[in-house]
């Protein structure tokens, strides 16, 4: 989905010049997810399909209430159901899986197609299908395993944070549909403050490891998640310390420009050689001391 007309762009993939035009200052927006009050009703999944006109795909039985094993090009919002033994009993954990809209998006860092992944000034990370070439580099760049290749369009697909709604002042469809209020939407600052309050509440209720998941490794995310068991993000199938893969950064922003210089260097080297030494001519060697059979 791309609604670039009115949106200021903060960062654009494979841009030779880099970033932000910075003409208007726009607050960064964020989703707030409270896993402790999620009841697993999947209203957000349905709302996502409806609003984004996603095709209905066959569900898959995974042994839990989960709709599909993982995200899908036609399924951008998936409640993950996890069960854990804890404190002599069982905890049932539900976590809304979707694009995290990272401050420092690995997908954008890896993307080789100019403008195919953009981060708007409000922080939303979006795939622009006009520019996307379906190379799947972003799959390797994303620390949350989010972007999916769409077989029919040949482009990548993922949560847009309902940029088309947000840009006209509406909240994302999933937020609108949530019946418990465990999903909220607003500026990043407000959502972080809300999360901090909720974490304090959980701590005083005995969940001493409660945490607002807003990982530093990607400079924070545009989706902040309250975890009661913050010491075990893996229980929610969240990476403990996500970051843009260091090798991706290395080859994308260092090795490739360096390689381009090396190739230009080789061409210049050959031209220089030609100017300095010229061609190796046959006539240059008819020197008498060459002890070779005559032609």
């Amino acid at each position: 989905m791309s609604v670039q007309q009115n949106l200021e762009i903060r960062r654009s993939s494979a841009s030779v010049w880099g970033s932000q035009s910075g003409m208007r200052s726009v607050p960064t927006v964020s989703k707030y997810i409270d896993t402790t009050t999620c009841i697993g009703c999947k209203a957000c999944e349905a709302a996502c399909i409806e609003w984004n006109d996603l095709r209905h795909i066959a569900t898959e039985q995974t042994g839990t209430y989960q709709t599909l094993p993982t995200l899908h090009a036609e399924y951008w919002n998936l409640i993950r159901f996890n069960e854990r033994d804890f404190d002599g009993g069982l905890v049932w954990l539900m976590r809304k899986d979707q694009c995290m809209h990272c401050e420092e998006p690995g997908c954008l860092a890896a993307c080789p197609a100019p403008g195919a992944i953009v981060q708007y000034a409000n922080g939303i990370v979006d795939v622009n299908p006009d520019q996307c070439i379906g190379c799947k580099y972003c799959e390797t760049g994303c620390p949350f395993d989010v972007p999916r290749f769409h077989q029919t369009t040949g482009k990548m697909a993922k949560c847009t944070l309902c940029v088309d709604r947000v840009s006209v002042g509406l909240e994302p469809a999933c937020i609108k549909a949530c019946p418990t209020g465990c999903l909220q939407f607003g500026t990043k600052d407000d959502m972080v403050a809300l999360g901090a309050r909720r974490v304090e509440q959980l701590k005083s209720n005995g969940f001493t490891n409660a945490l607002l998941y807003n990982p530093e490794g990607v400079h924070g995310t545009g989706v902040v998640t309250v975890l009661a068991h913050g010491d075990h993000p893996e229980w929610y199938q969240l990476p403990r310390d996500p970051h843009v893969p260091i090798l991706v950064r290395f080859w994308k922003s260092f090795l490739r420009p360096l390689g381009a210089i090396a190739i230009f260097g080789a061409v210049i080297g050959a031209l220089t050689h030609y100017t300095k030494f010229g061609p190796k001519e046959v006539r240059g060697v008819d020197a008498p001391d060459r002890n070779l059979p005559d032609a």
Partner: protein, 233 residues
């Protein structure tokens, strides 16, 4: 060629170069027979389809190349298939030429000062056979490079079939191999065309002059001459 033919061909060297190699025809010596040339050019053509479809994806600095094929999306579509074709052509070339390319003891020196001395026209090596050490090393490097590009490229083609960490390395290997390959090819083309006049003819017409052979590949030249004398005897 033979006396039994009613008509002498107009250009005996070209006729001989269709299926014979290392033979003297007049003032020329056949260096690459037709099949060798076809194999070499199929490698070169598939390589350049890979280059021009891959480089605009590689970095936006080369984005303009995408227009040669109708845009970046077409490039992305063509590149892996061109890569497979390049690998197949390279494999055929490898098998075809391996007999001529067995490394000789001194070849290692071509990686260092010897290559520079060669480029300064300072070497006076009368023991160069059909290919020099640099050419042989290039042959092996190209074979190795083709394998490296294919394997890493397959991972990049089907990323979900492999673990993420392996993929990060695949991109790295594809990139490093390409950079080395590209630099080598720049010099390969330069040496095969402008730097050493007469060489390009060996890949299109198939022949070189005796003088060219004596200058660039003296031992091969002597072998061809003495072989010819043996045959006459």
């Amino acid at each position: 060629m033979s006396a039994a033919r009613p008509q002498r061909p107009f250009d005996t060297a070209v006729v001989a170069a269709r299926d014979r190699e290392n033979v003297i025809v007049g003032n020329e010596i056949v260096r690459h027979r037709l099949v060798s040339r076809v194999i070499h050019w199929s490698v070169a053509v598939t390589f350049f389809v890979c280059v021009f479809t891959g480089m605009p994806i590689w970095t936006p600095v080369f984005g303009w190349m995408a227009h040669l094929f109708g845009g970046l999306t077409v490039c992305r579509l063509l590149h892996p298939w061109a890569g497979v074709a390049f690998f197949l052509a390279s494999g055929i070339m490898f098998v075809h030429w391996i007999g001529d390319m067995r490394l000789e003891p001194g070849d290692r020196e071509w990686l260092g000062p010897k290559a520079f001395a060669y480029m300064r026209y300072e070497t006076e090596d009368t023991d160069i056979g059909k290919y020099n050490g640099g050419q042989r090393l290039f042959f092996w490097a190209a074979g190795l490079g083709a394998i490296g590009l294919l394997l890493s490229g397959l991972l990049m083609w089907f990323p979900r079939a492999f673990p993420p960490l392996l993929l990060e390395f695949a991109y790295l290997i594809h990139d490093v191999t390409f950079i080395l390959f590209a630099v080598a090819i720049v010099f390969h083309i330069y040496l095969g065309t402008a730097a050493e006049p007469g060489t390009f003819g060996s890949m299109v017409r198939g022949t070189v002059t005796r003088e060219w052979a004596r200058l660039h590949h003296p031992r091969w030249y002597r072998d061809v001459i003495s072989g010819e004398e043996d045959r006459r005897r």
